[in-house]
């Protein structure tokens, strides 16, 4: 009786509430204090980018902006959105992300399912064939020559097709199917006269929304942030994704705006800086805004990927 009464409702570590010693309390103070410092260290740079993007350029440059926008201004955004290439590349990124994610799911999820089945003949060797590319690669030049050889250089599809297969995501899917889809279900489906394809598309897939979400999100973030493949495979500016245009603004510091008459070099540099802040906001906001709603799927993905098997 006593025991059941003491049982905690939630599963917490410190079930028994013996008075905590002074040492423990000191630990807690240090622990929470340090955690708050860490939170600030993570949040503040992000917050600063946002407020700086809405402030007056010279105030940002001279260190007048600390916690709140100063002399509210949208100059950075104006300069950014006046560039047609920004709109074009933003659209490209959305297309690459949408189509590329769909394509990757179509390729990787069925593979993960097939590899999860114990009755797949030659499973061990096929598994090995999917894992080897994680460790050995032909290298930059041979891959480049192959992509060029199949005629994908400077094509929309180079961002979709060549790198769609992800052994890592296939392993994630395989682990998921192994853990959640019982073998008895397949036996029952066979008794009902269902073939593999019907079983996979009508029964397994509806039960696997979690892994679709995990793999889909991983892929989407990967494509959204991709730039190096675009750099080496896409010379045509109209095909380039947003991240590659960001490179000009953020890294190589090229002036996108051609008109420089009458403006001082310092003023131009300040405007370029404002465009940097604004471009970070517009490119990162979509992912950051969705993140709190989706983060449980991301975490699930890490766990599925870490299970050996």
């Amino acid at each position: 009786m006593e025991l059941t009464k003491q049982k905690p409702k939630r599963r917490t570590q410190h079930v028994t509430h013996i008075a905590r010693s002074g040492k423990d309390r000191a630990f807690d103070i240090v622990n929470y204090g340090f955690a708050i410092l860490l939170i600030l260290a993570i949040i503040y740079p992000l917050w600063f980018i946002i407020i700086a993007s809405f402030s007056n350029p010279s105030d940002v440059a001279t260190g007048q902006v600390w916690f709140w926008p100063k002399h509210w201004s949208l100059k950075g955004y104006e300069a950014l959105f006046n560039q047609p290439i920004i709109w074009r590349s933003y659209l490209n990124t959305i297309l690459y992300t949408g189509i590329g994610t769909l394509f990757a799911l179509l390729v990787n999820i069925p593979a993960g399912y097939a590899l999860s089945r114990d009755d797949l003949l030659g499973r061990k060797w096929i598994n090995l064939a999917y894992v080897i590319p994680m460790f050995i690669s032909g290298g930059l030049v041979p891959v480049y020559l192959t992509v060029k050889g199949v005629g994908l250089l400077n094509s929309f599809w180079v961002m979709i097709i060549p790198f769609a297969v992800s052994p890592y995501n296939i392993i994630v899917a395989r682990t998921f199917f192994k853990q959640t889809i019982p073998a008895s279900l397949w036996e029952a489906a066979q008794v009902d006269g269902s073939g593999t394809f019907r079983y996979f598309f009508q029964i397994v897939i509806p039960l696997s929304k979690a892994v679709l979400a995990v793999v889909g999100l991983w892929t989407a973030v990967g494509i959204w942030n991709q730039w190096f493949n675009a750099l080496i495979y896409l010379q045509d500016q109209n095909l380039q994704p947003l991240q590659l245009i960001l490179r000009r603004i953020l890294i190589t510091n090229q002036q996108l705006a051609g008109n420089t008459t009458g403006q001082l070099a310092a003023e131009l540099q300040q405007l370029a800086d404002m465009m940097k802040y604004a471009s970070i906001v517009i490119s990162t906001l979509p992912i950051m805004a969705l993140y709190p709603f989706l983060q449980k799927y991301f975490n699930q993905g890490v766990m599925l990927g870490s299970v050996k098997g």
């Binding site: 992000l46 290298g139 890294i251 890490v302």
Partner: protein
């Protein structure tokens, strides 16, 4: 007589096995169809380029192709080993990656343990979710942020230094500072994310261990040392093996973006050199040879660490 029985038995088993294989194959056919799209892509874009590794031993010319380009043995490797870039790229690669390994192995463990000790569930959740957040910033934006913040005239850090009457040196033109900038910006971005796996491992620990320790009067610190750390050890080892196996694969994209002519002495690593030699200078063979050298070292390291770990802690990847 007995011999014969055994023989027929063996033959029978063989026939059964054959039949079994046949039904297995028939049953597997639809599964092969499901594998087909990924298998084709993998074949074309991962396995065919492996053939290109032959280029490392040739004096490759695009006009002649892999089939007719002359073989030169290890000449490309020797050319790299003798070049003055060899020492710089190898040293920078090892320095940045070992530095990163030494910092990025213990910190996520510490962060997971910190979170695990918080009994205010709301605070703990907020702390963890915020710590994962920077992981989703793209490499491009991350490098942009580093450059903006560290700008010696107008950057946030420079302004912060200014408040205290100090002057921020120009870190991005200092080859000696490159590794610090690289590693610590990486910590900022990925510390929380890297801790997820340890958080999960900690939540799997049987609570009775803690209860027993509390009964015996153990302090929080003693519980961490004697319960949490030993329980996390296998996970730490596995992740360590994987990172050592990737030791020479330093974040290529990030290094390439943070590089500039002034810090090149501290920032040129093997993979960025492979890129420049191959796709900017079009020395295909030399580039492939250097890339192959990188891969081989990685595999040796992976197998070596795996072997050591198996001997000492009984945990290994394979």
């Amino acid at each position: 007589m007995a011999m014969q029985a055994v023989q027929t038995d063996g033959a029978l088993r063989k026939a059964m096995k054959k039949k079994h294989r046949k039904t297995m194959l028939r049953k597997s056919l639809p599964l092969y169809v499901l594998l087909l799209p990924s298998a084709i892509l993998l074949l074309v874009f991962a396995y065919v380029p492996l053939y290109g590794l032959v280029m490392a031993f040739q004096n490759y010319s695009p006009a002649l192709g892999v089939f007719r380009s002359p073989f030169v043995g290890f000449q490309n490797f020797i050319q790299y080993f003798n070049s003055y870039q060899f020492g710089i790229t190898l040293r920078n690669t090892l320095y940045i990656s070992v530095y990163s390994l030494v910092v990025n192995t213990p910190l996520p463990v510490a962060l997971a343990i910190m979170g695990n000790q918080m009994r205010r569930e709301g605070f703990k959740k907020t702390f963890q979710v915020i710590s994962y957040l920077p992981h989703f910033i793209s490499t491009m934006v991350m490098c942009g942020m580093v450059l903006i913040f560290l700008s010696p005239q107008t950057g946030l850090v420079a302004n912060l230094f200014h408040l205290f009457g100090a002057k921020l040196p120009d870190l991005m033109s200092d080859s000696g500072a490159f590794a610090h900038v690289y590693v610590w910006s990486d910590v900022w971005q990925n510390l929380g994310w890297n801790s997820i796996i340890y958080i999960a491992a900690l939540s799997g620990i049987d609570p009775t261990y803690y209860e027993a320790a509390t009964m015996d009067g153990a302090t929080t610190w003693e519980k961490i040392r004697n319960i949490d750390l030993p329980m996390l050890m296998p996970t730490i080892m596995i992740l360590l093996i994987m990172s050592v196996g990737n030791l020479l694969n330093v974040g290529f994209e990030k290094v390439l973006l943070l590089q500039n002519p002034l810090n090149l002495a501290g920032s040129e690593i093997i993979s960025t050199y492979v890129y420049k030699i191959g796709l900017q200078n079009f020395q295909y063979s030399l580039s492939t040879a250097i890339g192959l050298f990188n891969t081989v070292i990685n595999i040796i390291l992976l197998l070596g660490v795996n072997w050591i770990s198996k001997k000492t802690t009984d945990t290994g990847l394979f």
